[in-house]
């Protein structure tokens, strides 16, 4: 790129923006463009230096700040990353407490205990009824005989005993 940087590009460089590679290459090799850039930056730097000349005695300022803090209430907060974690911990504890409270009557109350027994008995009755129902496929009563049980030589059955 042979063209000099325009005002917009020089402003972009001052502002810390990226230039196109071609423009950057030109700037690196062009004394005139670098001069244009430096003129503005030097003016800004002079103004900054003038401001810095007004910087107060920092050690004195620090002592003043610390003296005022000595008089201020002590900041005592949670160690770590702030109150956010504390609040989260408190919220978790609260949820846990609520959960325990909700479960507690079912474990210790008489009525709840009786209700639990009723429920279990009902389930058992229903299960037995299902098993007793011959109409249910796969649950027909099995007619066992001694041979099936492998008892023919060891134990005489009533039919072989005369």
């Amino acid at each position: 790129m042979t063209n000099h940087l325009n005002d917009d590009q020089i402003a972009a460089v001052v502002a810390g923006l990226e230039l196109e590679p071609g423009a950057r290459a030109h700037l690196d090799g062009c004394v005139g463009c670098r001069r244009a850039l430096a003129d503005f930056e030097e003016t800004v730097a002079r103004r900054r230096d003038a401001m810095l000349a007004g910087l107060p005695d920092l050690e004195a300022q620090r002592h003043a700040i610390m003296a005022r803090i000595e008089d201020a209430p002590a900041v005592v907060g949670p160690r770590g990353r702030g109150v956010r974690h504390t609040l989260l911990a408190l919220a978790a504890a609260a949820v846990l407490a609520i959960g325990i409270a909700a479960l507690w009557p079912e474990r210790s109350g008489d009525r709840a205990l009786a209700g639990g027994d009723v429920a279990v008995a009902t389930i058992l009755e229903e299960t037995e009824a299902l098993l007793a129902d011959d109409a249910i496929p796969g649950f027909e009563p099995i007619q066992w005989d001694a041979e099936d049980l492998g008892l023919d030589s060891e134990v005489p059955t009533p039919s072989t005993t005369s």
Partner: protein, 196 residues
């Protein structure tokens, strides 16, 4: 962190943790590290005469609010935001008028001190005179920038903040900072003309 780590060697977040539980020495270390930045930030808003007092006030607020610092942003970003807010509060409190950044009017800045404190690098009286004119003109041109552009320009070049630090402190996207800064520089260079 272990207490055995010396304060000067500790990271900012470790010092914050210590200060949060009342360790004033740790906070003093933070003050020593960042008080220049706080003063420079305050200086851009309230001017040289009030900057020291406002900076001290910002530190007191930081001390009081330390428990609310959650560590999501860097401590310096959080501190810069407190400094800016403190300065703006002070402007509103003292002047009781619509917000004006320091120097906007062109009448209350440090023009005399700028002249007095100019670098002696330019020993040639004529060159030095040109430098002075350029700086004074820059100051006046800054006063004509839109609020946001002037604020970002000053935070970048006079308070020496990085672009992402400015974005964090002002609560805007870094792209916004770049755009506003680019416009500010472009306008200032144009207005400075042949004096620059």
């Amino acid at each position: 962190m272990s207490r055995s780590v010396e304060l000067p060697d500790a990271e900012d977040h470790d010092l914050v943790d210590r200060a949060r539980i009342g360790d004033r020495d740790a906070f003093g270390e933070l003050v020593g590290r960042h008080q220049r930045r706080v003063w420079l930030v305050c200086r851009q808003y309230v001017g040289p005469d009030e900057a020291d007092a406002v900076a001290q006030e910002a530190w007191l607020k930081a001390w009081s609010a330390l428990t609310s610092f959650d560590g999501r942003a860097a401590f310096t970003t959080w501190l810069t935001r407190i400094s800016i807010n403190t300065a703006l509060d002070e402007i509103r409190r003292r002047r009781r008028e619509p917000l004006r950044l320091h120097g906007e009017t062109g009448s209350d800045d440090d023009a005399p001190s700028v002249m007095d404190r100019m670098s002696d690098a330019a020993v040639d009286p004529e060159a030095r005179s040109i430098q002075r004119q350029a700086v004074e003109r820059l100051r006046r041109c800054e006063g004509r920038l839109p609020d946001r552009q002037r604020e970002i320009f000053r935070l970048r070049f006079y308070a020496e903040l990085e672009l992402d630090e400015i974005a964090g402190a002002l609560g805007v996207h870094v792209g916004t900072v770049k755009t506003q800064l680019h416009r500010a520089v472009h306008r200032l260079r144009r207005e400075l003309g042949d004096v620059r």
